[in-house]
Symmetry: C2
Subunit: 195 residues, 2 copies
C-alpha cells in the first residue's frame, strides 16, 4: 500500500471512534443516547432533503461533508452539551488540539481541505456553513420534540438558552426557523422548557 493511501486508511479507522462519543440527545421512541456519527449521518440526509429551504443557494456536497465531519474533534474533546457553560468555556482549546491531531493523520492536502471545511463550519459565515448549522440544531430538536421534550426537562433548559442557540437556524433557513419557533412555543406552553 502506498504512503498516501496508508494515511487515508489510517484516518478512516481513526474516525470510527466517533461512534463511541455519546450526546445528551435521545433517539426517538425514548431510546438510548445518540452518538456523534449517528447525529452527523442524520444531519447530512436532512441537509439533502431540506436544501430547498436554505436562505441562500448551497453547494450540497459541501454542506453534506461539513455535516459529516463537524464533530470529529469530539473523539478527543468529548461532547460539550449546548447548555453546559463550564464545558463551553474550554471547548475551543480542547477542540483545536483535537483538530490538529486528528486531521494530521491525513495526507497534507487533505488535512488542509478538511481543516478548512471544519473551520468554515465553525466560523458560520458561508451559506453552506449556515445551512449545516441549521441542521445541527434541527436534528436534535426533532428527536427531542418526538420524545415530549425530555432532554430539555432533564437539563432544566430555559427559553432564553434555547432561543439563543436557535438563532443560528434563522441565519441558515428562515423557513426552518419558523418551524423551530412553532415547536419551541409548544414546549414552553407545556412546561418542558422553562420560561
Amino acid at each position: 500500500m502506498d504512503e498516501r493511501l496508508k494515511k487515508q486508511m489510517e484516518f478512516v479507522l481513526e474516525i470510527d471512534k466517533e461512534k463511541n462519543i455519546f450526546r445528551q440527545t435521545h433517539l426517538s421512541g425514548h431510546g438510548r443516547n445518540e452518538n456523534d456519527a449517528e447525529h452527523a449521518w442524520h444531519m447530512a440526509i436532512m441537509a439533502y432533503l431540506l436544501k430547498e429551504y436554505a436562505n441562500e443557494k448551497v453547494d450540497i456536497a459541501r454542506v453534506m461533508i461539513m455535516c459529516l465531519i463537524h464533530d470529529i474533534v469530539e473523539i478527543d474533546a468529548g461532547d460539550t452539551y449546548a447548555y453546559d457553560s463550564a464545558g463551553l468555556a474550554t471547548q475551543k482549546a480542547r477542540e483545536d488540539a483535537a483538530k490538529e491531531r486528528i486531521f494530521s493523520i491525513l495526507p497534507e492536502d487533505q488535512k488542509k481541505e478538511l481543516t478548512a471545511l471544519f473551520d468554515e463550519f465553525e466560523e458560520n459565515e458561508t451559506s453552506e456553513a449556515r445551512f449545516a448549522h441549521a441542521m445541527d440544531n434541527l436534528q436534535p430538536l426533532t428527536l427531542n420534540n418526538s420524545n415530549d421534550g425530555g432532554d430539555w426537562r432533564e437539563h432544566n433548559v430555559t427559553s432564553e438558552q434555547v432561543y439563543g442557540r436557535q438563532k443560528k437556524t434563522k441565519l441558515g433557513s428562515e423557513k426552518l426557523y419558523e418551524l423551530t419557533d412553532e415547536i419551541l412555543k409548544e414546549h414552553i406552553k407545556k412546561g418542558n422548557i422553562r420560561e
Copy 2:
C-alpha cells in the same frame, strides 16, 4: 407547518430508526456491533476522501447521498448478512416492500428521487453506484481487518464467499481492490478466512 414540510419532517423522524438496525460487523477496538446509520456515515466520508481512486469520474454529492440512504429499507427488512444465503433469498422482496412504504412518506417528487437513487445503487451500473458499492465493501473490511478478522472467523467465511462479494469493489475502484486483495490474502494466510 405546510403539508410538504410536514411530510419531509415525518420522513426525517422515520429514518431515525435506522440507528437501531445492527449489523454483523463490530466497531474497531473489538467494540460492539455497528448499526446501519454509523455504517452509512462512515461510507459517505470514505467516499469523499477516497474519490481519487474511483475508476471513473464521479459526482461526489450523488455518491454520498447514495451511501447515506442505501440501507434505509433495513428499517423494515432488517440487516441481511452478506454471507447468509437463506436471508439473501428473500432479501429483495422484503426490501422492495420497505422501499415503497418508507419513501412514500416523502412528497411525491422526493419519493421518486430517493427511490431512483436507491435503485441506481442496487443496479450498480453507474460510476457513482459502483464507487458507493466499493465503499459498502471496504468499510466493514477495514473494521474487520482492525479486529484481526473476528467477523470472518465468527461466521466461518470462505475465501470464495469473500472474493465473490469483493468483485464489486473492483468495478468501482481497481486501486481499492488491490488493497482489498492484499488484506484478504493476509487473513487467508492467518486462517481467519477459510481457503
